[in-house]
């Protein structure tokens, strides 16, 4: 049925609940953004566990120089699918499909996403794309084994024949379209479905970051899709777009891939930056420090991210080093502004070290390590020395593990909103310490072994005592991270419907904490007046109303 919705007024009577199918049919037919977001969340967390299991096998293999746990060919499949699952099937969909889907419409006072059926289609494409990619393991030749970047000519039909590579391409096509549709939906929702008074510069930072992420998706993903079609044509239709033999250019694949691939880093990161911004403000009992600075820093990061793709290609010898080095180094400026503002938000606040806040602080420290090592890599002379070593692996694992911590922070913070129940705080803190310590023990030795020259993507390595010790240490860290995941699963089981949350358990500031937990069908029975970027706080704490940004930005209340 179609619901023609009218705006909920303050203190309006609750509308009747929607009638619809239940059980499995509800899951198959839903167009409710909260149910779709929950499906995304569950699927993405399962993907994280699968990708994590691949990582544990990789670290077990590398715990000794001549590991025999897996064959060399299986090792190639494992690192390819570990990267592919984590980037394509976990981090991205978790960031812009799961929590964004649930939270963004509620944060701006919207009843749903702008295109609910397109939203449902996005989920089904994501799920089927994930199944397609993973099903490579069940084919005769095994899964894709050319690295998650699929470089030509390694990915051509001569070097990587078999169905696994084609399933990788097919899975990426499906998840790519899923992302593009989600991007369209987010932009339309944020531009057209905001509540009265929710001006662009009163939107929560998380929503702003998702808007910028959605624009980046629309800029980057079509390029990847086009590249994949070219790769498939080279493999099966006899074209030579990426093959020298037929007059093609292999490095063109790298240009196309990284034109998507570097913005993708920020497509992954910006939503998590937004989560952390919200969490640090709420658990410091303060508004976000430098709100507009945060917005412009996000826009600057996104804009610059489109001009840095070839810093992944410095060693090809055919890219403009000064341009890409300068643009990459420039990104450190808006990122530094963000870190400054996160610290500024906590400064003199009443900091509550909840599990969510600890995860957010863990993100801050770990992301700083990953971000600073990225500044080194933006310098071509240093990159020539460290390219394709474990230093690069350590750099991006610091970054992505920071994002995992931010995602966990998001689950502890917003989970009660969409489930109605809190997770156990003590178990959450135990999980944090395993995750935080495990991450550092896992990544820091990899920086050192990389600087000592150990190449990435190798299943066996020379018996150098230093390399072995550092690899062992890193494997211990991977085990600690694995334990943290088990602790998280244990927390889900233990806390199942145990601690009712109420509408606003954290004394939150933004609009999602104004409605019930979980929110009703179409989200709101009533809306408060929106006079700042923290309308719920203003409503609940009339004595501490947020000072508006200027005479034109509020009524002075």
């Amino acid at each position: 049925m179609v619901d023609v919705l009218e705006r909920p007024a303050l203190r309006a009577e609750p509308p009747p609940e929607a009638h619809g199918p239940t059980g499995l049919l509800k899951w198959l037919t839903t167009t409710d953004h909260k149910v779709i977001g929950l499906s995304y969340t569950v699927t993405a967390v399962i993907m994280m566990v699968i990708g994590g299991a691949f990582a544990e096998i990789i670290r077990a293999q590398l715990a000794s120089p001549n590991g025999t746990l897996v064959s060399l060919a299986q090792f190639n499949e494992l690192f390819t699918m570990h990267g592919s699952v984590m980037i394509y099937l976990f981090a991205g969909p978790f960031a812009f499909g799961a929590l964004a889907n649930i939270i963004v419409p509620i944060q701006i006072g919207a009843p749903d996403m702008a295109f609910p059926r397109l939203n449902a289609l996005s989920y089904w494409l994501y799920l089927t794309g994930s199944i397609t990619m993973l099903s490579g393991f069940f084919t005769a030749g095994g899964a894709a084994s050319f690295g998650w970047v699929g470089y030509a000519p390694l990915s051509n039909s001569l070097n990587t024949p078999g169905a696994g590579a084609d399933l990788w391409i097919g899975g990426l096509l499906l998840t790519g379209f899923s992302a593009i549709f989600t991007g369209v939906n987010l932009v339309a929702t944020i531009f057209y479905l905001r509540a009265p008074g929710m001006t662009m510069f009163r939107m929560p930072i998380f929503t702003w970051n998702l808007l910028v992420t959605a624009i980046l998706i629309l800029l980057a993903f079509p390029v990847l899709t086009a590249g994949l079609i070219m790769l498939y044509a080279d493999r099966h239709f006899g074209t030579h777009i990426f093959s020298v033999a037929g007059g093609g250019v292999p490095v063109l694949w790298q240009h196309i891939f990284w034109f998507w691939g570097h913005p993708e880093v920020y497509i992954l990161a910006l939503p998590f930056f937004g989560m952390v911004t919200e969490i640090i403000a709420v658990f410091s009992r303060k508004p976000v420090f430098g709100y507009k600075g945060m917005v412009f820093a996000t826009i600057s990061i996104a804009a610059l991210s489109l001009g840095v793709w070839a810093h992944h290609m410095f060693t090809t010898g055919v890219v403009l080093l000064p341009f890409f080095s300068m643009m990459s180094l420039l990104i450190a400026v808006p990122t530094g502004i963000k870190i400054f503002n996160w610290i500024g938000t906590m400064w003199r606040g009443e900091v509550w070290f909840s599990a969510a806040m600890l995860m957010a602080l863990g993100f801050l420290v770990t992301f700083l390590i990953g971000g600073l090592s990225g500044v080194y890599l933006a310098s071509p002379p240093l990159d020539f020395f460290t390219h394709d070593t474990y230093f690069v692996v350590a750099h991006f694992h610091s970054v992505v593990m920071a994002l995992v911590m931010a995602g966990m922070a998001g689950l502890y913070y917003w989970g009660p909103k969409f489930t109605g129940y809190l997770l156990n705080e003590t178990i959450g803190k135990v999980q944090f310490w395993f995750l935080f310590v495990g991450t550092q023990v896992f990544t820091l030795p990899l920086y050192l072994v990389g600087l000592r020259g150990m190449p990435r993507r190798v299943a066996i390595y020379p018996h150098d005592p230093q390399w072995k010790f550092l690899n062992d240490l890193s494997s211990v860290g991977a085990v600690l991270i694995g334990i943290s995941t088990l602790v998280f699963v244990a927390n889900l089981v233990y806390s199942w419907k145990r601690y009712p949350a109420g509408p606003n358990p954290w004394d939150g500031q933004t609009l999602e904490w104004f409605t019930t937990s979980p929110p009703p069908h179409h989200n709101f029975y009533r809306l408060p007046p929106i006079r700042s970027e923290r309308p719920t706080w203003d409503y609940n704490h009339p004595e501490h109303r947020t000072v508006p940004h200027g005479p034109r930005n509020g009524d002075g209340a």
Partner: protein, 130 residues
Amino acid sequence: MKVEARFLLGLGLFFGLIGLVYWLWSGEDAGGVMLGAAMLLGFLPGSYYLYWSRRMDPRPEDDPAATPASGAGVVGAFPGSSIWPFTLGMGAFVTVLALVFGIWLLLPGLSLVAWALLGGVAESRRGGHV
């Protein structure tokens, strides 16, 4: 609408500028073309928003002094439960599998896609049902 327009036009302008600098400096075509396309993605919708922002009254969501009552009225029509997104997704899935396992799979795949598209459009026309 004005902020939305400025946001997109600003991005388009930035991509246009760096695209020009990059193309003139490097002489490399692929990156120049991709940055040019990125510029268009900023300019095309940005111009549309700018055009309309000058021809319409500010919306309640653009008015800093608006109250919940200012936005009273119909927000929009939101479809309820629908089986067609799932059907379309399955059609796309089978179609992609045809790329791997054989062209014969295009028949069920594209049939599902066509059925879902027709079903979805018909559902919109008559107000929708499961």
